[in-house]
């Protein structure tokens, strides 16, 4: 078995949730393998993350370079290609960063690429058996990957829950091997999303509305329910694309990451991009007409109903308490 590496995403001295999930995934591929965290960046933040990862991973490779101050996938790809052994198995989170880096990295490492892995069933010789989803999560598929010559595996965030296992290892400075990091894509800046009138990232109770609301005028009933509950209103991407609610209310990987206690998913089918924005294991209630909606897999309580009829009745019941 080739060496397994996990790329640690971090920002502002804080490791991404995926950092602790990737090692769980890696151990699922090979429980006894040594898993090395690869951390890139520069300065004090980098050391903080490296030291933190050293308590969890079997080893940490640190790559310190001013060119890596911002995680530009093109630059990181160059560094990884220069540093990692040719047949490495590299784990990345399948998010906006992993999608940017993974496919190209697999070509440059001449290894196999598998995207958006939601489960790992095990390795048989040089073949890894995984589970993926297609058709917006409506069908799952068993997929085999030939990883004998190495692989880049993009793991869906949130599906491998971080566990308590701490393996521990040393931080090895690999900065010297990074090589030439010049690229034809230059990072300029991050344009922050405009702040909205509510900050849903701080809300304890969220009533979140999706495509099932059908019409802009119906959004009103969601606000009525939220008011009755003392909750804030959030939504999924289609609602923002339709401009029915402002971007600052969107939950998901391309929107806000929320950590409420209670999350009511109203007419939301539950794409992983949406679920990716829900953290902190809230109590999730899903109301949807379609029993096959993926949201029912992750919800604690499910109700099969048309939200246009259900919401007003629920509002009335709560107001009557």
């Amino acid at each position: 078995m080739a060496e397994i590496f996990a790329y640690i995403k971090h920002a502002n001295g804080v490791a991404d949730d995926s950092a602790l999930e990737l090692i769980v995934a890696a151990k699922k591929i090979a429980p006894d393998a040594s898993v090395t965290a690869v951390v890139t960046g520069t300065g004090a933040d980098l050391d903080t993350i490296c030291n933190e990862m050293a308590t969890v991973y079997n080893a940490v490779w640190k790559i310190d370079n001013a060119a890596l101050a911002y995680p530009n996938a093109e630059v990181i790809r160059k560094a990884l290609v220069n540093i990692l052994p040719g047949d490495s198995i590299v784990l990345l989170p399948h998010d906006t960063f992993g999608m940017d880096l993974g496919p190209g990295l697999s070509i440059k490492m001449d290894s196999t690429f598998a995207a958006d892995i939601v489960d790992i069933e095990g390795v048989d010789g040089g073949t890894l058996k995984i589970v993926r989803q297609e058709f917006s999560g409506m069908a799952s598929a068993h997929v085999t990957c030939d990883i004998a010559g190495g692989a880049v595996l993009n793991i869906r965030p949130g599906v491998f829950q971080a566990d308590e296992n701490k393996y521990g290892g040393d931080v090895v400075d690999k900065s010297g091997d990074a090589g030439d990091l010049s690229t034809k894509r230059t990072f300029l800046e991050v344009v922050e999303a405009e702040a909205g009138d509510v900050d849903i990232t701080k809300s304890e109770i969220l009533v979140s509305v999706g495509r099932g609301i059908e019409d802009e005028d119906n959004v009103e009933i969601v606000f009525d329910l939220a008011k009755a509950m003392g909750a804030d209103v959030a939504c999924s991407r289609p609602i923002v694309d339709a401009k029915w609610l402002e971007k600052s209310r969107q939950v998901g990987t391309s929107g806000q990451t929320v950590k409420p206690k209670v999350y009511l998913a109203m007419g939301i089918s539950g794409s992983f991009q949406h679920l990716g924005g829900i953290k902190g294991n809230p109590f999730i209630v899903a109301v949807n007409k379609n029993m096959k909606a993926p949201i029912f897999q992750v919800a604690d309580v499910g109700i099969e109903a048309d939200i246009l009829e259900f919401i007003p009745e629920l509002t009335e019941a709560i107001e009557g308490l």
């Binding site: 940017d100 690429f113 897999q297 709560i318």
Partner: protein, 262 residues
């Protein structure tokens, strides 16, 4: 600017339940309708808008069979100047890398400044653009939701977490994968498609593209789908049943217990 946009014909799944066929090796396709992958449609619109601004031409390319021609025509009706159908029995069973290899053959036959793909398609892998870029040694940016043209380079915005946008400068030629919402794609009616119905769409196979047959197709695929299955529904969720009043009563109890009512 010469732009190549890679598109894919996918089943339209928005309103329909997906069923797995009895063999478990495919979804039930009898009652499905197909259309161009939504992300690709945004990419084509963006390419047309760029060409409207700075001149040049848009070529749409797809890897597939004869039926895939319809999506090329649809995109040409939108305003793409040329279509290119890459079709060959040897392409069958290619994985993402195989598709990228085939597309590379098409890229090398042209003289493109900019290559676009949709951010992802029906298999949700989001891989072909990044692979193609790496094979061509072109810079790459994924999930692009803003493009500003400049001299020999582009300013592109990428959609990243938290609703933020990452701005980059990228040199041409390059590959970009396009996120939905970057523009408002124009409507294509039957009339538009009929207008381009008689336009010749060249078909290129393994030999035309100068491909090594060993690098593509099922034989070369290192990622293979074994079967489809329906994920358990409601696995985690306790489904509340009964009359609406009963359901609401139960739900309210839960909400009270979990701190969902203030």
């Amino acid at each position: 600017m010469e732009i190549l946009v890679c598109v894919k014909r996918v089943p339209d799944t928005s309103e329909n339940e997906i069923d797995i066929n009895s063999d478990g090796n495919d979804i039930e396709r009898d009652d499905l309708v197909y259309s161009v992958n939504e992300w690709d449609n945004y990419a084509v619109e963006e390419a047309i808008q760029i060409v409207d601004k700075v001149g040049g031409s848009v070529t749409v390319v797809t890897v597939g069979d004869d039926e895939s021609e319809e999506v090329l025509r649809r995109e040409m009706a939108m305003g793409a100047n040329n279509g290119l159908l890459l079709t060959d029995d040897a392409f069958e069973g290619s994985d993402g890398k195989g598709i990228a290899t085939i597309l590379k053959g098409a890229v090398e036959k042209g003289n493109y400044d900019l290559i676009m793909t949709g951010a992802q398609a029906d298999d949700g892998a989001a891989q072909v653009g990044g692979m193609l870029a790496a094979m061509m040694d072109y810079p790459y940016a994924s999930l692009v939701n803003l493009i500003e043209t400049g001299d020999g380079k582009l300013k592109v915005g990428r959609e990243i977490e938290g609703g933020n946008q990452e701005m980059n400068e990228i040199e041409l030629p390059c590959v970009l994968s396009i996120q939905t919402g970057i523009n408002e794609p124009r409507y294509v009616g039957i009339r538009g498609i009929r207008k381009v119905a008689s336009v010749e769409i060249p078909e290129l196979g393994v030999a035309d593209l100068g491909l090594d047959a060993g690098a593509i197709g099922a034989g070369a695929a290192k990622v293979k789908r074994l079967d489809y299955f329906v994920p358990d529904t409601g696995e985690g969720a306790e489904m509340l049943t009964g009359s609406t009043e009963e359901i609401i009563a139960k739900l309210v109890e839960y909400l009270k217990a979990k701190g969902g009512l203030k």
